[in-house]
Symmetry: C2
Subunit: 227 residues, 2 copies
């Protein structure tokens, strides 16, 4: 048995959570860089995001391996098991947020070559709401706060409405001026990625509720009042 | 301790695999129905997909619970642990295939109201390749065949090329005739969902390689020859 295997259980659990927090920080920074690059039409920023996603990917692989090691070498109790399974799911959600940041960066690179579409508030609002929901979901997980987690889920409806409105506006630009078809299509893809980031934040919030209350709220209608 | 808790370990593992196979069957049927409805512009078929996704969702929740129960009540050895973690990941991938089937069904409902876009072979080919890759990936998992799994991954590049070609064709339809903007946009979304199904099939194949060989091939460049 190697040195690592002799570490006390709680040390391993703490190290696993520290890795997840590191991954969360890297993912939030990647998304923020992608959104700054989108707003400023910065090709340099977009390229940094595309290169930086490898860090998020390798953190996910490390979390998978560390989780498997704990499960194999220790016999975690039910509450710790839940924590490990939630960590695995959340690291997978974060990896997908990283993928969407790359998609936004790729769209930004293509948009830099295209005629700009006039800005509109719904898309701007989505670029603010998605990282906010992600930050809130991650805070609800680290502070084990199911009420905060539920408030993330409630905001997801606002995101869906913004996506529908953005879609309608972008299609009307396409209909008015064929030269706007390609750039509007890129922004439709960006708005889809932002909606998906909000969905992934909602997944993280739902994992938190499950972890704290043992209640599966995925695939269930909302039964709690919106804030 | 209830009756369920007294079941021998291997019975529980077999039951878990049976649930995953059931979920795989339901998911493949849902995707097939969605693609038939798309080809035949069948609103009835599309509505059956939208209603049927709840079955896939509830199977995923059941697999999560059964996995947690095995981990909590038994002390699975490393190989069984890997099998359980792979099952959790694959059931999550299948749930996402279900979500994409619903997206295709929703697009089909909207397309039924719109002027048709002329058919083209690349999209037709994607509707054949995506379910084939999924079936192959699931077979590689159940038969523990890493070579079959690697061949799924190799086909993912063909899918990406078809998606790029479809995108170009659909944008040219939009540019030629503004009345085709909305239906072409729906088909762009369909082609994205098909590409995502192929990605999820590739995930399942990569889980299989990891399970059999203990080697993480996610986030790694392809180093094996294509077939």
């Amino acid at each position: 048995m190697n040195q690592a295997a002799k570490r006390p259980f709680q040390d391993r659990m703490d190290a696993l959570q520290a890795r997840l927090l590191e991954m969360a920080g890297e993912t939030e920074a990647l998304l923020a860089t992608a959104l700054d690059a989108l707003r400023g039409r910065s090709a340099d920023g977009a390229r940094r995001v595309i290169a930086g996603d490898a860090v998020v990917d390798s953190l996910e692989v490390g979390i998978d391996e560390a989780s498997l090691e704990i499960l194999a070498l220790e016999q975690p109790m039910a509450i710790d098991l839940r924590q490990i399974l939630a960590t695995l799911k959340i690291s997978n959600d974060l990896e997908r947020v990283g993928d969407h940041s790359v998609k936004i960066a790729n769209a930004t690179l293509r948009l830099a070559e295209l005629r700009p579409v006039p800005a509109f508030p719904q898309l701007e609002e989505m670029t603010g709401l998605a990282p906010e929901m992600l930050a809130q979901a991650l805070r609800s997980f680290t502070t084990k706060d199911p009420e905060l987690a539920r408030s993330v889920r409630a905001r997801d409806d606002a995101m869906d409405d913004l996506r529908t409105a953005s879609h309608r506006i972008l299609v009307s630009h396409m209909l008015e001026d064929p030269r706007r078809i390609s750039p509007a299509l890129e922004l439709i893809h960006v708005s889809q990625s932002l909606e998906r980031v909000a969905d992934l934040a909602t997944n993280i919030a739902e994992e938190t509720v499950f972890l704290v209350e043992g209640q599966v709220i995925r695939h269930q209608p909302e039964t709690f009042p919106s804030p």
